[in-house]
C-alpha cells in the first residue's frame, strides 16, 4: 500500500455559488447585528428585515440553503453580539425557525407558488406571531401583552411588504449579473 494514497484530500472546491452564499450570509449576520441595536416595544422582537436575505437565498438557491443561512444568521449573530442562549436568542431562534418552516410550506405550494412579496409577508407574519407566542409563554405571561399583538402584527405586515419590495429590487439586480 502506498502511504500517499491514504492521504485524504482536504482541499475544497469552492464555487462561485459558495462565495455568493457566504457573502449573503455575512450580510444577513450584519443586518441581524444592526437590527439588534434598534429599540423595540418588546425586548427581542425585531422587524425581521434580515429576512430579506433569507428570501433572496430561497429564491436563488432553494429552501435547504435558505434554512441553513437563516440558522447561521441567528446563531452566529447572537454569538457575536453576545446574546447566545439568552432570552433574546430564544426569541430570534424561534422567529427564525418559524420563518424557515413557513417558507418551507410556501415553497411547496402548487402552481407558480409565492413571489417575493408573498414569501416576505408569510415569513414576517410567522416570525412575529411566533416571537409573540414565545414571549408570552416563556417570559411575560401577562394578559395585557395581547394589547400589543395587533400593533406588532401590523408592523410585521408593513415590514413584510417592504421586505418584499426590497427583495424584488435585489433580485432584478442579482439576476442581471
Amino acid at each position: 500500500m502506498n502511504p500517499d494514497t491514504k492521504q485524504i484530500n482536504l482541499t475544497f472546491d469552492t464555487t462561485r455559488e459558495d462565495y455568493r452564499i457566504a457573502w449573503l450570509t455575512a450580510l444577513a449576520i450584519s443586518i441581524h447585528i444592526i437590527e439588534s441595536a434598534l429599540p423595540s416595544p418588546l425586548p427581542g422582537v425585531k422587524p425581521g428585515l434580515a429576512n430579506v436575505i433569507t428570501i433572496v437565498v430561497l429564491l436563488m438557491y432553494g429552501w435547504p440553503t435558505a434554512a441553513w443561512v437563516a440558522m447561521l444568521r441567528v446563531t452566529v449573530g447572537s454569538l457575536i453580539i453576545g446574546t447566545f442562549l439568552t432570552p433574546t436568542f430564544v426569541l430570534s431562534l424561534s422567529g427564525a425557525i418559524a420563518t424557515i418552516m413557513a417558507l418551507g410550506i410556501g415553497s411547496r405550494l402548487p402552481g407558480r407558488g409565492l413571489g417575493p412579496i408573498g414569501y416576505c409577508l408569510v415569513a414576517s407574519m410567522a416570525h412575529m406571531a411566533t416571537q409573540f407566542i414565545v414571549a408570552y409563554t416563556l417570559f411575560i405571561p401577562h394578559d395585557g401583552l395581547f394589547k400589543l399583538l395587533p400593533v406588532l402584527m401590523t408592523a410585521s405586515v408593513v415590514f413584510g411588504i417592504v421586505s418584499g419590495l426590497i427583495v424584488n429590487a435585489m433580485m432584478s439586480r442579482l439576476r442581471v449579473e
Binding site: 409565492l114 412579496i117 408573498g118 395581547f146
Partner: protein, 119 residues
C-alpha cells in the same frame, strides 16, 4: 405578484382588523366606579383622579369622593347613613347604596378574567 401572493396579502388585511377588534375591545383604563341614580341614569367615574362630586337624588344631594383609587359616600340626606358607614369601596364588586336617595355606587372590574365575583 402571483395568485398565491394576493391570497397572502388578503389574509393579512383581514387578520389585522380582526386582531384590533379582538384585543382592543376592552378599554385600557384603571378601575372605574359606576353610579346608578334611580332606575335609569348611569354614571361612570374613573378612580385614577382624586375628586369630590355631588349626585342629586329625590331626597337631596349625596356627596361622593374618589381618593387613591377608592370611592365612598361622604354624606347623604338619608337618616341612617348606612351608605356613609359602608366606608371606602375598593375592590371589584364592592358596593354601597343610599337606598332612600336612590343612589348606588359600585366598583366595576377592568379585569375581564372573571365573569362574576362571589363573596
Amino acid at each position: 405578484m402571483t395568485r398565491a401572493d394576493y391570497i397572502v396579502v388578503i389574509f393579512a388585511f383581514i387578520m389585522l382588523p380582526y386582531l384590533y377588534m379582538k384585543y382592543w375591545q376592552a378599554p385600557v383604563q384603571g378601575e372605574t366606579a359606576q353610579i346608578l341614580i334611580g332606575t335609569d341614569k348611569k354614571m361612570e367615574v374613573s378612580l385614577d383622579t382624586d375628586r369630590q362630586f355631588s349626585v342629586e337624588g329625590p331626597l337631596g344631594t349625596s356627596l361622593i369622593e374618589v381618593h387613591e383609587g377608592k370611592v365612598r359616600f361622604v354624606d347623604s340626606p338619608c337618616r341612617g347613613k348606612q351608605c356613609v358607614h359602608s366606608g371606602w369601596l375598593q375592590q371589584t364588586g364592592d358596593f354601597a347604596a343610599c337606598l332612600p336617595n336612590h343612589i348606588s355606587v359600585a366598583i366595576l372590574g377592568h379585569d375581564h378574567v372573571y365573569d362574576a365575583i362571589n363573596f
